[in-house]
Symmetry: C2
């Protein structure tokens, strides 16, 4: 392995959620055992049903994880970009790979063998806890991201509803009387009543709407139209 | 604890990513030790800097995790909805809680004490691996969700660009000559060149555009306008 890459291996491993809370010595032991795989576009790293003796990290390039149905059709399950790992759940469960991994572009992949990771889990009680902590933290931040996206599109749906009710040409100010209970309207917009209330609260805090019982006042329709566009 | 809730506790725990791959006997041991907390809106479950002896799961309601700055301002870091856990990373790291947890609505919370989880990690080698596998699997599915959202909004940006270039009134068919390299355009739209190519590929597979070098043909602008709306 080239010097440059060797120096980067620890950095790459340390940025994986699994190892983010793990200390340097443990990472050094794992880094010392990684293997390097240079793939051209179309090269297969492992095939569906082959045994799993470790997991992989994309240094650069993109890997496609796909299954082949009995009729020969391929279904792409995941595309793994640079700096992400794959195969770790399968490794921990001790199962064969359920997918085929193929390079979508020229790619450099690190292989992290199971044994040193397993040895550390068995010998160092803190190691497993730190891996669990790192994964939990990343999971929370991803849930927040997904929630942010979902809230943003719910907000867009609610704004879309208000604009339709106001009439497309109006500039405001307008008053919109909700024709039904907030509960029913929330369900029509495919949001929970809690999300519906939170969105109205946020829009009102941003000065975009004024909520008065079942009446919603919009001072400036153009501003509402531009919001979250 | 009421009978009904007791029956649900195992189901709730089993749906947490951390325990999704864990087997029934281990879950039974953990479920037997959970505590129940009924909170009214505004009630505090734990305060910033208090010791952490376990983590929590929201059965119903919503919990707010917030920090208070020295000037007294509150910053909300996370809102935990029903069926989600919080505090697990802090528990694994053995640190005090970095946030205050307050009920946003009337809430029912389960407390999962650290000790039975810790005992299982120490006594059963497979237990930690199964927790790591469950968290890794959930993480992959969340990354896919986030990527899906991100790709969707990149697609919206690219469509917006094409519509602006086509002129708002046109109905199509139109030919749009990219004024610059795809690389530069990708960067202007804040996507990676790989994502840019993937979006053009998807739009072309959906029959919305035809890509011919630097020329993009759109047969039906209205269809493009409606796509991903």
């Amino acid at each position: 392995m080239e010097k440059q890459l060797k120096a980067d291996v620890r950095g790459l491993l340390g940025r994986l959620p699994m190892f983010a809370a793990v200390d340097g010595e443990a990472l050094d032991r794992i880094a010392a055992s990684v293997t390097e795989h240079r793939l051209a576009r179309g090269d297969v790293l492992f095939r569906q049903n082959s045994p799993c003796t470790g997991f992989y990290v994309v240094v650069h390039g993109q890997m496609k994880l796909a299954v082949t149905a009995p009729n020969g059709n391929e279904k792409v399950l995941e595309i793994i970009p640079a700096h992400m790992s794959f195969g770790e759940a399968v490794m921990f469960l001790g199962r064969p790979f359920p997918v085929t991994a193929e390079a979508l572009t020229d790619s450099l992949i690190l292989g992290v063998p199971r044994d040193p990771v397993q040895d550390l889990i068995d010998s160092d009680k803190l190691f497993a806890r730190k891996m669990l902590a790192g994964l939990s933290l990343r999971l929370h931040s991803l849930v927040k991201d997904v929630e942010g996206y979902a809230l943003r599109s719910s907000t867009q749906r609610l704004i879309g509803y208000l604009l339709r009710e106001a009439g497309d040409d109006a500039a405001g100010p307008v008053e919109i009387d909700l024709p039904t209970s907030k509960q029913v309207l929330a369900s029509r917009l495919s949001v929970t009543p809690e999300t519906f209330s939170r969105i109205l609260h946020n829009l009102s805090a941003d000065g975009l709407v004024e909520v008065d019982g079942k009446t919603i006042r919009v001072a400036n329709l153009a501003r509402l139209r531009d919001h979250e566009a």
